[in-house]
């Protein structure tokens, strides 16, 4: 398309630039090799022509005066802000020399490859780590508390991830005849319109509401959407598991569950030994010598005998049995000892029994009648969809919490149904972001992987995701035990301003190392501390692709800015230098390899821009568990050890964690630390979302920053009055770990006993060198949140549930 010398190019988004995980279709207007405007692509099914402020500000982002355009080498002391521009060759030579020396002297595991929310770059950081030989690829947020806990729980419960079906799998979207509008969407802990989370477009809920969907909102704050909800539950932060268990209690008691679905598709009839210190699933190996330990056992009421479920074949060893759902059964094991068992369902009901609306109300602060009403709305709606947010990850009890909420759609059968929670796979099975242990392009031998930090501390870290555990990494940087850490590669991350809890520890850690590299687009508080800084290209200056979850789409290089290189090219060049015979020469070869499962090349994908999998493809809903589209062996069922939805989790049992969901108090709360609470009488929740910014990004973009100049603390008018604080005044937020000074936003949307702070703040316009580091220490709320408080699975941390006091700042 051409018009007045303006070329219009159709492409799609990811990072860097807008920052978010969205995948909006855009039309880029280019004149004289410069992007002059970005508009929404009306033909793209994801955003249908719309675009939010961040993509609309891309011209200010790309051509910002502060953008890094050449590699920088530190010439002064660390943090002194003295850098010198160097060429790419010099930069690559320097990095190669320094990092190879560390590898020779201390072993490859002594370098950490540190990412933030990696977007299309995370996978390539693992490729670089593995080409170098280090198993220590890491996401630096304490407890890996961003989506990973939920992904893990979904993965071990039903073998796959599930997200709300807002018709994103259909080109015609809401009008597709197969699609059904959810009767209710339950929005659990997310301020939707201000975010674009987890491969989702917040405003799809507005589209659905216009088409008749009701919303049920669970949030400590009255968000815009909460104010329009059929029912809004204002819960105490960190008590979500108790609330979900309260729902389950009501649903079981009032028979609002889908018993047919539960019988057929879950492990509810399996027997669990109850005569030991901790319960354990009964296995064929307990019953017979040479029995398999991946086969489970149920009770046949007709013959009053025990029948083995063959996990590999997805059948009971006796045909046509209808196993007992409930009851207690005694039996003699292969070794002659006696055992007592109960069915999973009996244990499940006993567990839920404790969570009466009254008991749950005491824990959550939500009135009993509201809990009952909400459970009814969720369970009776057909279809019913549930959208959950980051607060489910940013608590140490994330595992039982994610599990309890995940069970809601399993107990009601709202799984992979139109308008429910659809199973989400990468479109065409193209993996741009590897989850399970191992990388998408390279992997390391098991003896090297054995050195991954944290894997011996936590089963979930060992078995679910390839990342090192960040709290353990930070500890090891200071302890040198069991081996010294000497270097850090930082890409897509700003731990000093954003992902690092106790960020001063991260500062000291980075400064302690022999060599550090940071890849970014702007100078940040983190980059300021590093030895080499490499300038990255925005998504409009690079080739890439996205398949998270649909569509599969191309990101196309439209222009160049300065000497910036794409993150992927930077990683590829260093892979070649670090690994002998690295098998790829250019990024298109890498993309072609990823696209093999879609049977196409990157060039083919660019011609199409985006593609949605056809009906019948395993990466397209619906009801794939019935059709045998989920399991490798093509049998109906799920990708779990037993092939069933594991309400009682065999993975959690293996990791010596509680196999059923339960409530766990936050480590600091009015209940668990009443004495501290006297001194710090407000619950400090963080992570209030801001429309114009993605985490720590975008503070230098004029059209975005004008929407919010300064960080705020939300405080209820009654609480503000009590402490003599007026709207807009500067307040100190303080606890035993640290203090920040921000502006009071006095608003009734927050609960009087909770204050809500924002994360990711720093001031690109302020002094960058130490000690100021762009003013980050004045405002970074992570200074009030500890490291090393990860949950029992090594996942989750108390980011939403700290305590603090608030008072008027002097002067």
């Amino acid at each position: 398309m051409k018009d007045n010398g303006v070329k219009i190019i159709k492409t799609t988004t990811w990072s860097p630039g807008p920052g978010c995980h969205g995948g909006c279709g855009i039309l880029v207007h280019v004149k004289d090799n410069k992007v002059i405007k970005v508009e929404g692509d009306p033909d793209h099914p994801w955003n249908q022509g719309r675009l939010c402020s961040r993509c609309l500000s891309m011209t200010q982002y790309m051509y910002h005066k502060d953008r890094l355009k050449k590699p920088l080498k530190r010439v002064g002391e660390r943090g002194q802000g003295k850098f010198e521009e160097i060429s790419w060759d010099e930069a690559f030579d320097l990095i190669e020399e320094k990092m190879k020396k560390i590898r020779d002297d201390h072993g490859p595991e002594s370098v950490i490859f540190h990412q933030g929310t990696g977007r299309d770059i995370g996978g390539w950081i693992s490729m670089l780590a593995y080409a170098y030989g280090s198993p220590n690829w890491m996401f630096g947020l304490s407890g890996i508390s961003c989506y990973t806990p939920r992904l893990m729980m979904m993965s071990i419960t039903q073998g796959d991830f599930a997200v709300v079906d807002a018709s994103q799998w259909h080109e015609k979207r809401y009008d597709d005849p197969e699609y059904q509008i959810p009767e209710t969407v339950t929005i659990w802990g997310q301020n939707l319109p201000a975010t674009c989370p987890d491969g989702f477009f917040g405003h799809w809920y507005i589209d659905l509401m216009k088409r008749g969907t009701e919303v049920l909102v669970i949030d400590p704050r009255c968000t815009w959407i909460a104010s329009r909800a059929k029912l809004w539950l204002q819960l105490r932060p960190g008590t979500d598991a108790a609330l979900a268990l309260g729902f389950i209690h009501v649903m079981i008691k009032e028979d609002l569950i889908n018993m047919e679905f539960i019988k057929k598709w879950t492990n509810s009839p399996f027997l669990v030994r109850t005569d030991q210190d901790s319960p354990a699933l009964l296995r064929e190996s307990d019953l017979k010598e040479n029995g398999s330990d991946i086969n489970f056992v149920a009770h046949d009421p007709v013959s009053d005998s025990f029948v083995v479920w063959e996990s590999d074949n997805q059948v009971y060893q006796k045909s046509d049995i209808k196993p007992s759902m409930e009851g207690e059964f005694n039996l003699t094991l292969a070794n002659g000892s006696k055992a007592k068992t109960k069915t999973v369902w009996t244990l499940y009901k006993e567990n839920a029994e404790q969570y009466t609306p009254e008991a749950v109300s005491k824990i959550t602060w939500v009135a009993p009648d509201k809990i009952i009403k909400a459970a009814r709305i969720y369970a009776k709606s057909k279809p019913s969809a549930l959208h959950w947010g980051l607060p489910i990850d940013t608590i140490p009890s994330t595992v039982p919490t994610s599990q309890a909420i995940n069970h809601l759609w399993c107990l009601t059968g709202n799984l992979d149904n139109p308008g429910g929670n659809a199973i989400a796979r990468y479109a065409y099975d193209v993996v741009t972001y590897p989850y399970h242990t191992g990388g998408s392009i390279l992997s390391l031998p098991p003896d090297v992987m054995e050195k991954r930090i944290g894997m011996h501390d936590y089963g979930a870290i060992k078995d679910f995701r390839a990342w090192a555990q960040p709290d353990k990494v930070l500890e090891q940087i200071f302890s040198g035990d069991p081996y010294e850490i000497k270097g850090m590669w930082i890409q897509t991350a700003n731990p000093i301003a954003c992902t690092g809890m106790e960020p001063k520890k991260w500062r000291d850690a980075i400064k302690k190392l022999d060599f550090t590299v940071c890849v970014d687009l702007f100078m940040t508080p983190t980059a300021m501390l590093c030895d080499v800084i490499l300038p990255a290209a925005t998504f409009l200056e690079k080739d890439s692709l996205k398949a998270w979850w649909v569509p599969l789409q191309a990101i196309k290089k439209v222009v160049e800015v300065g000497d910036c290189k794409s993150d992927i090219e930077i990683n590829l060049e260093l892979c070649k230098r670090f690994m002998k015979d690295f098998p790829y020469d250019n990024v298109h070869q890498l993309f072609d390899t990823l696209l093999e499962s879609a049977d196409m090349t990157y060039k083919d994908l660019c011609d199409k821009t985006w593609m949605i999998p056809p009906k019948g493809h395993p990466s397209k809903p619906y009801f794939r568990y019935e059709k045998g589209l989920l399991r490798q062996d093509k049998k109906p069922g799920f990708r779990t050890p037993s092939g069933k939805i594991e309400l009682y989790s065999s993975w959690l049992e293996k990791w010596e964690l509680d196999p059923l969901p339960y409530h766990e108090e936050p480590p600091y709360s009015p209940v668990s630390t009443p004495d501290l609470f006297k001194e710090y009488p407000l619950i400090l929740s963080t992570g209030r979302r801001m429309g114009p910014f993605f985490h720590s990004e975008h503070r230098q973009i004029p059209w975005l920053r004008e929407q919010q100049r300064d960080p705020v603390l939300e405080i209820h008018p009654d609480t503000a009055k009590k402490y003599g604080i007026a709207h807009g005044e500067k307040v100190c937020v303080e606890n035993w770990l640290g203090k920040i000074t921000v502006k009071a936003l006095v608003t009734p949307v927050i609960h009087p006993d909770i204050v809500m702070a924002e994360h990711g703040w720093w001031f690109p316009e302020k002094e960058g060198k130490e000690p100021e580091l762009f003013g980050v220490w004045d405002v970074n709320v992570n200074q009030l949140i500890p490291m090393s408080h990860e949950g029992k699975a090594g996942l989750g941390s108390p980011i939403k549930t700290m305590l603090c006091k608030v008072y008027k700042a002097k002067g």
């Binding site: 022509g49 939010c52 114009p692 059209w703 004008e706």
Partner: protein, 111 residues
């Protein structure tokens, strides 16, 4: 020309401000000053103590109703990019017909 107007179905305006930035991008307007549209948030405590949040996009004197774009057959930049699809531009008579039933809306005329 007074027969053209902007219809604002503000019940669904989320306050995302895409409209503001769309206008600034289209006309390369400076930050720190109003462009053609500015969104105002109201947090109302209703008589029954229920909170209700309303956002209203207000069109300023700087709004030119995207005459240039409209002439080319395009929608105004803010209308096209509105994340909630709650803005519509056109002849008053045709807009009146699409005023959503049972919803509060504002008709902003050129004057």
């Amino acid at each position: 020309m007074s027969e053209y107007a902007m219809l604002i179905d503000y019940e669904y305006c989320t306050g995302c401000k895409a409209c503001e930035v769309a206008c600034k991008q289209e006309y390369n307007r400076p930050a720190g000053k109003a462009g053609g549209v500015e969104v105002i948030e109201f947090i109302h405590t209703l008589p029954n103590d229920k909170l209700f949040i309303t956002n209203i996009p207000t069109f300023t004197r700087a709004c030119v109703f995207c005459a240039g774009r409209v002439k080319q057959g395009l929608e105004p930049a803010c209308v096209k990019h509105c994340m909630a699809n709650c803005l519509a531009y056109g002849k008053i008579e045709s807009l009146q017909k699409i005023i959503p039933k049972k919803r509060k809306a504002i008709l902003w005329t050129k004057g």
